[in-house]
């Protein structure tokens, strides 16, 4: 923070802490302390009476004090053969989270960019952007109900779900969108994209407005077509913003819980890490395993914490 506090405003050493104390106390109690507590709980057994080693059984693989991590990392994988391990990985929470990250991040960024670029050229820009942005205001639970209804699968002749009505009117059999493994995770990701595209659209649109018009005009006069101008000038100019959107989305996806919980409950091979943590703790009542899963989650997020801080320090240096 290069900007210094004006000399005249320095009034005593104690006063600042009165302003800070409530915030620091609350954050230490609700964020900092629990993080360390979570790590120590993850090394204990189910009821916290012993270390996690106590949960090991004769003749079965054991990671000693890291036993809960062995469970968190390998329980969903069927390791009898390489091919079964491969298949089970892609319906495990880790495989699903990879799908979520790759598809949802690319989906929201591409659609958000498309909308940010195109809506700028129509007169009903505000309306169009408002419609795309609206899902950001509603809860994942509400969105889950909306889309569960779209995906509704009827066994009778009448399909009340929009998607199956379209499929059957084209002459195909109705599809159980949410209980067919592999397909169902994709259908959940569609909902995620529906919710979050408005976010990336808004941020990218603001960045696009910051690209100087003269620069684009100059390239056009030099004979570059719109597509080339976009690819070679606009995209590099707004790259920092794209990176911000991507990192924010990755963090959001890793934390995502509600949607899976409401739409499938993590069944039919749709589980994700955040939902597993919930079910280990509040369905199976195993704090050791639940906390181990959440430590895995924070390890995946740590690179982004680091990125956030470095980005912040760079910006402060520029101020």
């Amino acid at each position: 923070m290069p900007r210094r506090v004006p000399e005249i405003m320095k009034q005593g050493r104690v006063i600042p802490w009165f302003y800070l104390a409530p915030a620091l106390l609350l954050m230490s109690f609700f964020i900092v302390y629990p993080m360390f507590n979570t790590i120590s709980l993850s090394l204990q057994n189910k009821d916290g009476t012993d270390t996690a080693t106590a949960a090991c059984r004769e003749g079965e693989p054991c990671w000693g004090i890291l036993e809960n991590y062995r469970y968190a990392l390998t329980a969903e994988i069927d390791s009898t053969s390489f091919s079964s391990a491969w298949t089970s990985f892609w319906t495990s929470s880790y495989g699903n989270n990879i799908k979520w990250v790759v598809l949802m991040v690319s989906g929201t960024v591409i659609l958000g960019m498309l909308m940010a670029v195109l809506a700028d050229r129509v007169r009903y820009e505000a309306l169009a952007k408002g419609i795309i942005f609206m899902p950001m205001a509603i809860s994942f639970v509400g969105a889950g109900v909306i889309w569960k209804f779209v995906y509704s699968f009827g066994t009778s002749q009448v399909q009340i779900g929009l998607l199956n009505a379209i499929v059957t009117s084209l002459g195909f059999d109705p599809i159980a969108w949410l209980s067919t493994p592999q397909l169902n995770t994709l259908m959940l990701i569609v909902v995620g994209v529906w919710i979050w595209t408005g976010f990336s659209m808004t941020i990218l649109a603001a960045a696009l407005r910051g690209v100087p018009e003269e620069l684009l005009e100059a390239a056009r006069i030099d004979g570059a077509n719109e597509f080339r101008v976009f690819r070679q000038i606009t995209i590099p100019m707004i790259m920092p913003t794209i990176i911000v959107v991507v990192t924010t989305m990755v963090i959001n996806v890793l934390k995502l819980f509600d949607l899976v919980y409401v739409m499938t409950g993590g069944n039919f091979g749709t589980d994700v890490i955040a939902n597993r943590m919930y079910s280990e703790m509040y369905v199976n009542f195993n704090p050791g395993r639940g906390t181990a899963v959440s430590v895995v989650l924070i390890i995946l997020i740590i690179p982004f914490i680091y990125l956030n801080i470095t980005r912040f320090l760079e910006q402060e240096a520029l101020r």
Partner: protein, 394 residues
Amino acid sequence: MNKDKIRNILGKIPLHVIVIGLCLVWLVPTMGLLVTSFRPFQDVNSSGWWTVLSAPVGADDYEQYCASCHGPDGDVMAEADLTDQAVVNKYPRSLQLLAMLRREIDGEPHMKDVPFPEAQAAADIAVYLKRISGINAPPSFTVDNYIDAFVGYRGTGTYREVCAAGEQALDLNCNLTDLLNPRGMGRALVNSLIVTLPATVLPILVAAFAGYAFSWLDFKGRQVMFAILVGLQVVPLQMTLIPISRIYAQLGLNGQFLGVWLFHTGFGLPYAIYLMRNFLGGLPSELFEAAYLDGANHWTAFRRLALPLAMPAIAALAIFQFLWVWNDLLVALVFLGGTNPVLTYQISNMVTSLGSGWQLLTAAAFISMALPIAVFFAFQRFFVRGLLAGSVKG
């Protein structure tokens, strides 16, 4: 000149098709929810919501097989008046209807030269006859789903029907107290408000003090502490739930509103302080220096200068925090559960227990969405500003 204009318009068609197409994809699922929430339950499960404005089930078949003799409204033949409930009640199902159609009337076949309807068509006609005779004629639109959702009615009819007939379930009293039935959305709405308002005001208040300190007060470790705070913004909720719920269990705070208020405050702080500090820190320092030269101390500068100027940031924060708390499921699930159910909890519970009670689910979902959507469209400007301040300017 004119040719160019036409070419320009034609050239823009693909653009409009993509933009409008995307908007429709975004809008149609929500429309389905809204339309369904206003349809009577008989219709919701027998036809898609997009058919709501088309003819009722069986109308086409009636037209094809029956209208030539019985007339378009069914009341042309006095000896077989299809609007008479006594007549229609003899044929409640398609089998009875088909059997009757096969019989002869005065030595002549019932259907004469009209072809015989198939089973599905006959079933639809039976439904249609009930509709025109008034035996079972639900209106196209109804608010019953909302009433049922509010009071938590989960039977096979509607709340208004069973109360009129005096057959209510044990947990319903058929008076205003039903609005607070723990299973209903009315109670959940009240709980959501109780949770959200303090959980929005508290973090903003605490963050205003801290944000002021981080931007205009001098203390040791200012920079390091703020960098840590930036990192804390992305710590997942999941990381802290288990230790806190264990502490709450000892303090007896599980299921209490106080516990949720404090948790949301603690967790909302890193972002709130970050936003406040960026905004307050961006104010010109001459402003503060002038105030100090006039003899102001920190408290006056904070109260009279910083707070009023920070109103746009406070507005953005308020909307953010409000939407976050209102829409949250995980914290409510863990710390409040069924003791004090909020909207999201109630709906997620209904999804599991009702399965396909779509008329109730859609109404309940819309009840939970109405307020955030209204807030969002009313204050869109602030919301977008907060979003941009949080993730772009940094």
